[in-house]
Amino acid sequence: MSNTGPPAHPSGPRDDGIVVDGVSRDFGPVRALDKVSLRVPRGEIYGLLGPNGSGKSTLIRILCGLLAPTEGRASVDGLNVATQGEEVRRRIGYVPQRFSLYEDLTVLENLNFFASVYGLKNADLKERREWAIHLTAIGPYRDRLAGQLSGGWKQRLALAASLMHRPRVLFLDEPTAGIDPVARRELWNLLFTLAGQKVTLLVSTHYMDEAERCGRVGYLYLSRMLVEGDPADLTKLPEITPEGTRRVEADCEKGAAAVMNQARRLPYVEDVTIFGNALHLLVKADVPDAKIARDLEEAASAKVTIRPIEASLEDVFVRLTRIQIEQRGEIPTAAGAPR
């Protein structure tokens, strides 16, 4: 075996890395997942989004065989997670949200341990270990205790430990939570390298920029999958920019916060979000740019430039969440203006 990474595997029964079909999971009276479905083609990165407690970790733990689904069917690399658990565990890697390698063992000891648990021996073990060390560039720290590594390096070590047995599917539960932007960028580059080697990845995250890099994304909200698909397709969903409305960006030279308060009072503005010195507005389609600019300039006492924009992924999730809140009749948050 060359040390260029996981080899191309023969295709499974279907060319999907992960298939989740109507999976629910109850914890006593609490339904943590409600009829969730998704599909990840082999070699793709799937972004799982959703607020805390929406069921992301539960879904990942079901796919790793740590939890049995109450109903529905899930398969990983063509194998049923509920019935073929042992075989599934041979083919997956799992990087949990919380660092869970042994802090009182060194980097090298941790890697040796996990490699041998996966049945790697002698020359094979050494070769795979060195490959993982090279990939994650953790070499300089090999003799350091894992507990003494910084957050970013711990994440790399966890990733390295989960890769040595050539997993075909990799699950990462908020791998970038709490690590700095440079480490975050490097980690994602690594994930793309793996995807390029036909590893299927499912990554849960809170970061929209990360979601936008994924081939597919799903948005879990209160245990249900609200929407799922290609990020570009999601931004074109009719609910996101309903008929008779359009999205514009208002570029303010200064006083964007004041302008936002003004925008909220305008009858034809459906929704406002602030991005630095700019506002993203959802407005009635029949209101011309010039009128919007004029109305906003009153508050800004500076020039406001209006230009049409596409919906962003964040717009998609914010919009869908609001629609859900309205439908369920819940008290909207302070940010969510009721309509």
């Binding site: 790793c64 065989g65 740590l66 049995a68 042992e86 565990r89 041979r90 997956i92 799992y94 949990p96 919380r98 660092f99 869970s100 390698l101 042994y102 802090e103 009182d104 063992l105 000891e109 341990f113 996990f114 041998s116 648990v117 996966y118 049945g119």
Partner: protein, 368 residues
């Protein structure tokens, strides 16, 4: 059994690196052993006050008899009965002897003489021993007096008590064989519980469960180093016991070690059972206490089993410590053989089998 050897090796490295665990396993027993080895539960030299109103040769003779038992030490003479009682209330003395003014006259005239013995009842060990000793002194003097009057040279019946196995009636010989069992109980249960709960607490158990390692292999691999540690601890305690405290092992050492393995197995399973319920090490300690406390109080280590009320005697039969204490005392003190101890061995074995089966099931349930 996939993953057994890697887990075993990893656990051994972690165990050796973890100073706290090693200290817990070796220093705590040494400390307790020293403490219990030096304690003497035989009551001697009880502080005694005397209110002697007779002040005659006869009364001094009686007081001498008291002192000669080496049980009573006369520490003060009181001027009145009130003062006598006061000294006992104040805790300056545990017993008081009051000799009436007519003691010598009555003795000479052959009339019964009364002696009042006050005993502090707040310590049951001392009071029961004092009662027996005071009666003994009075009986001995009365009998020899009666014999002299009857012209007999000797008493009709003489007892020759011989204290078997422990001729000097040293407490260490009695306490340490029981302590061996108690120390093993603590470390065996807690080490095993900690080993598993620590991994659960840190999330590493979950990481292990997504690997193809089998749960049984993980548990066995994790517990085996602690079995070795508990065994090393046992050898260490036995070494201190025989060499430092000079408590001889009268029976077979290999038999004792072989039966200890069964006991340690039962304890590790119990620890595993605790770990399947506890989410943190703190919780594990609390759960383990529910078992450890009865193991000390009801196993016959402190109180004889026969002094327990009937329902508690039944509970005691379900504690592995009860049977192992019987075994360790039997082998160490009485030199008992396997044939002498078979019912304790059978009970211990039965408990061990139930615990191993129960804990493996409970552990399986918690990880899936």
């Amino acid at each position: 059994m996939r993953g057994f050897l890697p887990v075993l090796k990893k656990e051994a490295v972690q165990m050796i690196r973890d100073r706290g665990t090693l200290q817990f396993a070796l220093l705590v027993p040494a400390f307790q052993l020293v403490l219990f080895g030096l304690i003497d539960t035989n009551v001697k030299h009880v502080r005694t006050v005397v209110f002697d109103q007779s002040r005659t040769q006869e009364s001094r003779q009686l007081l001498n008899d008291f002192v000669n038992t080496s049980f009573f030490d006369i520490v003060a003479y009181a001027p009145s009965r009130a003062a006598l009682k006061e000294l006992i209330v104040a805790g300056r003395a545990s017993t008081g002897v009051e000799i009436p003014p007519d003691y010598a006259r009555r003795r000479v005239q052959g009339e019964p003489a009364d002696v009042l013995v006050l005993i502090d009842g707040s310590d049951s060990t001392i009071s029961s021993a004092a009662l027996a000793a005071a009666n003994g002194v009075a009986f001995a003097r009365s009998f020899s007096e009666l014999a002299r009057r009857a012209g007999a040279k000797d008493l009709p019946i003489r007892t020759h008590p011989l204290l078997l196995f422990n001729p000097d009636s040293r407490s260490a010989n009695l306490l340490i064989p029981g302590l061996v069992a108690i120390l093993l109980t603590f470390s065996g249960t807690l080490l095993a519980a900690f080993a598993i709960v620590r991994e659960r607490e840190r999330g590493t158990l979950e990481q292990l469960m997504v690997t193809p390692a089998s749960p049984v292999a993980v548990v066995l691999g994790k517990l085996l180093p602690y079995l070795v540690l508990a065994f090393a601890q046992l050898l260490f305690i036995l070494f201190l016991m025989t060499v430092v405290f000079r408590v001889p092992i009268h029976g077979s050492v290999p038999l004792l070690l072989a039966l200890s393995i069964i006991y340690v197995f039962a304890l590790l399973s119990l620890g595993l059972l605790v770990s399947s319920r506890a989410k943190s090490q703190m919780e594990a300690i609390q759960l383990a206490q529910m078992f450890l406390l009865p193991s000390i109080m009801l196993s016959g280590y402190i109180f004889p089993l026969s002094s327990l009320p009937a329902p508690l005697r039944v509970v005691a039969q379900f504690l592995p410590a009860t049977h192992f204490i019987a075994i360790s005392r039997g082998i160490i003190i009485r030199g008992a053989s396997f044939g002498d101890l078979w019912h304790s061995v059978a009970a211990l074995l039965a408990i061990a089998v139930v615990l191993v089966a129960g804990s493996t099931r409970a552990f399986h349930k918690t990880i899936t």
